[in-house]
Structure formats: C-alpha cells, structure tokens
Symmetry: C2
Subunit: 163 residues, 2 copies
C-alpha cells in the first residue's frame, strides 16, 4: 500500500492497519499473549499463511507497531512486543469487536471477551492498556489483570457451552 | 478475502472493512456526503483508482454496508447510502481518526473534525448517527447538524491556515 496518500487521520490509520491480517496478528499478540512467530502461526484461528504472517510481522515492526527482540532463552527466536502506539489501538479493537458482535454471526465463546470490554468502557480499557504496558514495555504490571479476567470469562463460557 | 475464517467478532469486522480502501470510501460517503460513483472518484483525496472504487462499492453493497438505488434525477446513476450497520461504524472511525491524529503526521485541517468527534464523546456520536439515519435511511433529520458543525470547523481551520 502506498503510504502518505493523504494527511487525513483516518487514512493514516488505515494505511497502518487496513489490510486483512494486521489487526488479527495484533489481536493474537495483545489478547492471546502469543509473542513468537511459531505460536502465532500454529495457534492462528483464522489459519494465517506462513509467508503472510512473516510479512505482516516485518511490516508492523517497520511501521512502529511492534518491536522484535532476541529471545534470551532461544537465540534464534524473536519475541514480538507491542509498542505504545499498538497498545493505544485498544479502543479501536474494542469497537471493532462490538460491531462484529452486533452485525455479524460471532460465536458465543469468542464474543464474551468483546462483551466485557464493551461494558467496561474507557476505565476498563485504560486498565487493560496499563497491563499491556507492563507485559510489553517493561513497566511494572498493575495488580489487577484484565487479561486474566477476560480469559476466565472465555473459559467459563466455553465449558458452559459443552453439551 | 475468504469470509468466515473464524467466529471471532474482531475477525468478522476485519473481514467486512479490513482492506486499504473500504473505510476510505465509507468515510467519503459518511462525512463528505458523496453519494455517487463519479464524485467519489473525482473528489478522492487519496486518488482511488476507478476499478478499485467500483469493486469496493459493489462489495460494500453485497456485504450489507451500503445500498444502491437509482437516482430519480439521473436514471443511469446510482445513489449510494449507508445502511444501519455502516452508520454504527461511527465509533470505529472516531477511534481510528484519534489514533491517526496521535501517532501519525495528520495535517491540521483534516484533523480538526477528528478532534471535535473525539472530544464530543458517545453523546456526540449518537447525535451524528441520528443525523446519518436521516440522510441515509429516510427517517426525519434531527434539528442539530453535527456534519454541518464539523464542516464549519474544517472551513475555519482551513482559512485560518492560509498565510
């Protein structure tokens, strides 16, 4: 995509994440805490192709949404982390999820986290962003884990759904 | 893009508008009140290509985000209108614009509307959505025109910027 098509803020945001996969990859890093290429590929619910994942990760690093650092435990592997700019996409993702829940046939287990985030509002999103800063930017983690609460709600809905 | 890759609400939203042009076209219809193919092409700040515009318009109609009706004044021409689903993308666009303003080099005149929408919050977005329902869905228009206020602010910033 040609960058700098215009100086409109909506256009500039679309240039950053307006493609079929960038937000999916960011979602998995943000909510799934998947930080390595291998797990982003293997655990992709949407079955992202390996070359597309590699390309998206590189592009997101190049455009300032991710950083890639060597994994101290595995020298050949990279750990991907969100930048502050990516963390500030939380409200965009929350509203996209709310729209998907309202207008598309979203499955119940995958919707419960969207529901909690919608209902929690800007206060909850701010807590989530602080937690993400702890996990990705190396600042102290807050005591309350929103990601933990979202995961617990997902697990509860998933097991409740088993007939 | 293959649809129904998963039942995740974020994924389903990305499937609807996750490409380089759909949100740009929706923005021009929503905020620019550009309702015909010809003006969407001619007035495109980002220089959308004719074949891409035609393809996006068709896809947005097929996926329930736009309707296309014959223009009573010009039988060969179609008027594109937002559906309720597209109108409910307002919060997504507001937050995308806020992100673009915060993290990308957005130009001042094009940012003033984004600023007003951010500051106005959910109450302002609700008023805007009611106005869009009036303009696109045929329901009575509210007295207060948010689009008019946004346009006035844009004009004021634009003329103020002339040295």
């Amino acid at each position: 995509m040609k960058l700098g098509r215009s100086g409109c803020p909506i256009n500039l945001a679309v240039e950053a994440i307006g493609d079929p996969w960038s937000l999916i990859v960011l979602r998995d890093i943000m909510f799934g805490d998947q930080r390595h290429y291998r797990e982003l590929l293997a655990k992709s619910d949407e079955g992202i192709a390996s070359n597309i994942l590699a390309d998206r990760l590189k592009r997101l690093v190049d455009t300032g949404l991710l950083t890639a650092t060597s994994d101290p435990a595995h020298k050949q592997r990279l750990i991907y982390s969100l930048t502050e700019a990516a963390i500030q996409l939380v409200p965009v993702l929350v509203h996209l999820a709310a729209w998907g829940r309202a207008h598309r046939p979203a499955t119940p287990e995958l919707s419960v986290r969207a529901e909690m985030l919608e209902q929690g509002g800007p206060e909850l999103w701010a807590l989530l962003m602080d937690e993400l800063r702890g996990r990705h930017l190396g600042v102290p983690c807050p005591a309350r884990s929103i990601l933990g609460e979202l995961q617990a709600a997902y697990e509860a809905r998933r097991t409740a759904g088993v007939v």
